[in-house]
């Protein structure tokens, strides 16, 4: 990396051109991705198309299946207040959850990245909860309970009267965001692995150039982990839109639908009201929203994600520019 860092740009482009030729590997790449293509066609594509088809049907699981054209979609957009309500709740949740999730995960990862004794224990502790998901849901109900919860017990020790978190429309969504953040240890780990991958000499040369900690963070750390940020951003968005388990096990969507996520709405249509066709229509709409969001993020990533293997120019320039600025 250190060499690339100092390399001459014209040399680089020449090398790039030569290498580009070899990257077209004929049939080889298809063979490499074949397992996924096979699995996709066999296990995913069929069910996916099936769900698209039934979104034009009335299918009450038991009983008759009737073709109803686009009625499911019409009903959804024009007649169903719960559709809009749940969509709004999910957007609100995503707007809170996605940025917080990334900041918290990165913050914790940086904290764990410190050279300290017993780091193995700290890392394990930080990762603990995210694999207890189902059990953890039960634990949260004890944490959040208004009169008898642990959280309010601690607050009362501090002299604060806590709200009835999950029964208070002002706090329920916040409580859900916090509970979701707790379970995101995997994201923290991915960041941690990314941070560990940043070559030390980059920091060294930056500090020789007189860059302070903040400067180093902005011009070395962040650009170097942009591939990881991209990954975490996209998976966070997806996770936010699919958030179901917590709502299902903890609040049932309440109080007064304040945590009624879109995924929950979809789930209830399918398994509580047995409107499979309608639920499929709900699902396809959400699928398109998330797909669009992901597509936009992915397209924008060309401008801000820096892959060393790809030798993108922009971040290189950024690195150089910041270096020049400092020297």
């Amino acid at each position: 990396m250190a060499q690339t860092y100092l390399q001459n740009t014209s040399e680089q482009t020449a090398a790039l051109k030569a290498l580009k030729k070899r990257r077209w590997g004929g049939a080889a790449p298809y063979l490499f991705i074949f397992p996924w293509i096979f699995g996709f066609v066999v296990f995913t594509l069929g069910p996916l198309l099936f769900s698209l088809v039934i979104s034009f049907f009335d299918w009450p699981i038991v009983g008759k299946v009737t073709f109803i054209g686009i009625d499911n979609y019409v009903e959804m957009f024009s007649n169903d207040p719960l559709f809009w309500k749940s969509l709004f709740v999910t957007l609100k949740f995503a707007a809170l959850f996605v940025p917080l999730n990334i900041v918290v995960a990165l913050g914790l990862a940086m904290l764990l990245n410190q050279k300290v004794k017993g780091s193995a224990i700290f890392r394990t502790a930080f990762y603990l909860l995210c694999h207890l998901r189902r059990g953890a849901c039960m634990i949260w109900s004890w944490v959040y309970s208004g009169d008898y919860g642990i959280l309010n017990y601690f607050l009362s020790v501090l002299g604060i009267q806590g709200p009835d978190w999950l029964n208070d429309t002002n706090w329920s969504l916040v409580a859900m965001v916090v509970a979701s953040l707790w379970g995101q240890g995997s994201m923290m780990l991915i960041f941690l692995a990314g941070l560990k991958g940043i070559p030390k000499d980059l920091y060294e040369s930056a500090s020789i150039d007189g860059a302070g900690k903040v400067r180093q963070f902005l011009s070395v750390t962040i650009p170097m982990i942009t591939p990881t940020i991209l990954f975490n951003l996209i998976t966070s968005i997806i996770a936010a839109f699919q958030q179901l388990t917590l709502a299902l096990l903890l609040t049932g969507g309440g109080p007064l639908k304040s945590t009624y996520f879109y995924a929950m709405y979809m789930y209830e249509n399918a398994f509580k009201y047995y409107k499979m066709g309608y639920s499929a229509a709900n699902a396809w709409f959400m699928f398109l929203i998330v797909l669009t969001l992901t597509f936009l993020v992915f397209k924008s990533s060309e401008a801000w994600v820096f892959y060393e293997g790809e030798m993108k120019k922009n971040p290189q320039k950024k690195l150089k520019a910041s270096r020049r600025g400092r020297s």
Partner: protein
């Protein structure tokens, strides 16, 4: 001074993360009478370790453990092999439709299972796979989008000069992958193993839908036998939760130093 702040923060956060688990452990140890007291009793007055054995023996949890291990190990192995191949294909080659196919990979992460569940069930039913462990294992051998994406991101941060050099020396694409890329991917492969292991170990919905007979059940399904439509056996749930958390935690504890061992790029280039 800086160290002190770091330690303080680490300890505070660790306590925050551990507190719920501590709560789970003490709940599992309490007697029925102490379970619902308020203010909460942090330390049980009698330590009922027998709660663990009782909960474990109510249902055949040894059998559930065996099934879970089988599913977890085989599917983790499958993910590692298939996702490495696929991620390498996406990260290191240019081919027609690559970006489109990759978007499809990403898109498969967004499919809500609510609607594909029943058609998938029909398909597995047609194949005669319902009530076997196959639906939980076989699909893992064809890669999952999350890991493909994760590994692709890792491979793309590896400097290309390494495999270009090997190619010039006449190595095949497969050799490059096995000899150059895979050794450098160590941490990320461990990461994938840990995630898949945990995910599979804790998976509830898959086993719920595809398994019928108790002799095929996994641990999480066993756990759910304590939470019915009309009542929750809190102690047993907590006891089992604690017990079945031990293997993944132990694995994580030993795996984490490899995950954070640092990606070898520096070692080679610097």
């Amino acid at each position: 001074m800086k160290k002190v702040v770091a330690y303080a923060l680490l300890i505070v956060f660790s306590l925050l993360f551990i507190a719920p688990l501590f709560w789970a452990v003490t709940t599992a140890l309490k007697s029925q009478q102490e379970l619902y007291l308020f203010p909460p009793k942090w330390i049980p007055s009698v330590w009922k370790f027998s709660n663990f054995a009782e909960a474990w023996n109510i249902q055949p949890f040894n059998l559930f453990l065996k099934n879970t291990l089988l599913v977890t190990v085989l599917s983790t192995l499958g993910q590692l092999i298939s996702c490495t191949l696929v991620a390498y294909g996406f990260a290191r080659f240019q081919f027609k439709g690559r970006d489109f196919l990759f978007l499809v990979v990403l898109a498969t992460m967004m499919i809500p299972w609510e609607v594909t569940m029943i058609p998938q069930y029909m398909e597995f039913n047609y194949l005669g796979w319902i009530n076997t462990l196959k639906p939980l294992i076989v699909p893992s051998w064809f890669g999952s989008a999350y890991y493909i994406f994760l590994l692709r991101q890792f491979i793309m941060t590896l400097p290309r000069e390494l495999d270009e050099a090997a190619t010039i020396d006449g190595a095949s694409k497969m050799t490059v992958l096995l000899r150059i890329i895979v050794p450098l991917m160590g941490p990320s492969l461990i990461l994938v193993s840990v995630f898949q292991f945990m995910g599979c170990w804790n998976d509830y919905l898959g086993p719920l839908i595809f398994l019928n007979d108790q002799t095929k059940y996994t641990l999480t399904l066993g756990l759910s036998q304590f939470k019915g439509m009309y009542g929750v056996d809190m102690q047993s749930i907590m006891a089992i939760t604690c017990l079945i958390s031990i293997p993944p935690l132990a694995i994580f504890f030993f795996a984490q130093r490899y995950i954070v061992g640092g990606i070898a790029t520096t070692g080679i280039k610097g």
